[in-house]
């Protein structure tokens, strides 16, 4: 990867292209570009327009512009801020947990041992099971205090079974998300470990560095871009969690596990208040951009550093 990035520009591209030549290159891309604009920017524009209207589908009144009333409702809406907070906690904690556990698993599975192929397959499996199946399985077979595995374990050691989904719904959701997405982090990190600089590691060993030091001073710096890439992709996936919430807790209790996606769904497709739902979506987008831009800048900084190295 690093090599292709640092490769010098082909001389042909450096030469100034004529207008016709440029369009020759652009031309075939245009249909795709137009489609993308139609599919992504047009809906966005419509959402923006709806967000300034009072439009409840069920009331059958024609949509009317109501200034910024929807936005005022949104910023005054306690549940909106709560769902933003929930989204942050859910995404943040799950991402960190996925990376930490994924790294541990990757380190283990990077060693050669009999049955490694099977172990790897098993470790990756959670990621490929359908989210609905995973959620229903965890809901009944794991979290249920009556016949769930976790309840059985706690009774085994003489403790009362925990009502996970009532008392610790957020923790339960994070456990489920972490279980499901850890293999994804692990896959990226295994790839990173396999490209670890063997000569440096060997040199370190010759100089008497123990496994911990090798890990700390060679592997971690080497893995850094991989970890950051994994974190970005995970966060992008986790921030839009929906099915797990809908099936595990229905956003409850008392909106304790309602993230912004689920809240917009409730407003838009349960209450059919499209105006407010659109405003919620736009507000959430602005907040997300404000939070994600620094992260993206960090990441592109890494790519450039990588290029220089």
């Amino acid at each position: 990867m690093a090599k292709t990035i640092t490769a010098p520009r082909p001389p042909a591209l450096v030469r100034e292209l004529t207008r016709a030549e440029r369009w020759k290159i652009r031309g075939p891309l245009l249909p795709a570009l137009i489609f993308t604009i139609l599919l992504t920017q047009l809906p966005f524009l419509l959402t923006l327009i709806y967000s300034f209207q009072s439009w409840s589908l069920l009331s059958n009144k024609p949509a009317q512009f109501n200034g910024g009333a929807n936005y005022l409702t949104t910023v005054q809406d306690e549940i909106f801020w709560r769902s933003i907070g929930n989204t942050g906690v859910m995404t943040g904690v799950s991402t960190v947990a996925c990376i930490v556990i994924g790294l541990l698993l990757a380190l283990l599975l990077n060693h050669t041992f009999p049955g490694r192929g099977i172990a790897r397959t098993l470790a990756i499996t959670p990621f490929f099971v359908m989210p609905v199946a995973v959620t229903l399985f965890w809901r009944s077979a794991m979290f249920d205090p009556g016949f769930g595995l976790l309840g059985w374990f706690s009774r085994l050691v003489g403790l009362p079974a925990i009502s996970w989904l009532s008392e610790y719904p957020m923790a339960a959701l994070i456990i489920l998300l972490t279980w499901r997405f850890t293999p994804f982090a692990m896959l990226i990190l295994i790839a990173g470990l396999q490209s670890a600089p063997q000569e440096q590691l060997e040199a370190a060993r010759v100089d008497g560095a123990g496994p911990l030091r090798q890990f700390r001073f060679i592997l971690i710096p080497h893995l850094r871009p991989y970890i950051e890439l994994a974190a970005l992709l995970l966060a992008m996936n986790l921030i839009q969690t929906f099915g797990e919430i809908a099936l595990l807790t229905a956003g409850g209790p008392a909106f304790g596990t309602t993230n912004i996606t689920y809240y917009i769904y409730l407003k838009g497709f349960n209450g059919f208040d499209f105006g407010t739902a659109s405003a919620l979506g736009i507000a959430a987008l602005l907040i997300t951009i404000a939070l994600v831009l620094p992260a993206l800048r960090l990441l592109s900084g890494i790519f450039q550093k990588e290029g220089r190295r």
Binding site: L39, G146, G271
Partner: protein
Amino acid sequence: MQIGPQRTKAAARVLAVTAAGALLAGSFTACSTDNKGGTAGGDVTINVALAANPQMKTAESLISDFEQKNPGIKVKFTTLPENDLRPAVTKDVATKAGQFDVAMMGSYEVPIWAKNNWIIPLEDYATKDTAWKKDDLLEPIKDIVSSDGKLYGAPFYGSSSFLFYRKDLAQKAGVTISQTPTWEEIAAAAAKMDDKANGTSGICLRGLPGWGQNLASLTTVINTFGGRWFDEQWQPQLTSPETTKAVQFYVDLLREHGQADAAKDGWEGCLQKMSQGTTAMWYDDTVFAGSVLNQATPAVKENLGFAMAPTGPADIKSGWLWSWGLGITSSSKNPDAAWKFISWVTSPEYIKLAGEKSGWDSIPPGSRTSTYELPEYKKATAAYADLTLDSINAANPTQPTKDKVPYSGVQYVQIPEFVDIGDFVSQQVAGAISGTQTVEEALKKSQDYATNAVKTAGYLK
């Protein structure tokens, strides 16, 4: 800087793939719209949106009978889970997109959609189609799928709510459950039958947030405790002493003798617990009686008893009332053909056909008086058929509460804004059930939210 060309190439690839996907999607949509009209050549295709429940699956499997009797009419089913059906159909009828000719809708939706002219009145069809026997429909069910006295939905099935209990566990605990119990008796019985050591809870009640989940059960309790959602001026009554007492009762009962982890269980969870024998009682929809008996363990099956919905201090009959009805969308191009299908699937003959072909305990119940006179049906459902009929006939959706209210609906408030208000309140109640807040806190927040909502909507001046 140097990554420029590389990135452009990748971007181009992504664009190309997206475009290809979009084209593909486009052509699929084109296909499906082509299928829709179908008037060419004399053949008519009607599109029907249905909830994916067992009774409708039976209807789908028996469709050849309809197509035999009505040559020239083809029926195309779109079957969706109940939760997905509502948004899909609402979007279609509200925007007059015309995807469906026949739509299945809950009794909550029928009057709202009728008022918005999204569905057409069936009155004329029903009167002309004498074989359909309009007078045979159960009166309360007919009422909730009508608007201003006109029928808008043909009831496919109807239901109320009642109590399921285990006779053996009651006997073991030394309690008797009467046929018309009070909530006080049920709470005492739950305390006695509660056997946490053996993994059996005293009672199972819905705790899952959702206006159609915990709020349905809870609202019937509020009604029979003398509470109500709104007074006649639309002032919310969620913090009134009666409502508070009812909610406190529901939450306490659930926390003390209900199923563990109650805030996660809707009717699905309780149905499972009742069938598996991990709860001694369950208060829920009458339509689940057949389901429990079908999937129950032998010990449960032999000992399952039923009783009317428990009543509270106000002594209001507290069973709810619900129906899934079939309506014709106003955007339908083939309303006559659509009625033929509706007439077939909701007719007394169909009920007989379904009973003969797929078993008497799985016919659509609660829609017609004649169903309860069929000897085969009576025999197959002796344990609960009469009680179901009594519960439906006892429900009074136009006056569900002790004091007068400006709305109709037993376990819901018949206004479009109720989904939003109800979802909020149900979340707060779930919070109280899980113990993260007190009942007072939950109701205070709910009261504020409801007040705001009815003010914005213009009900409360």
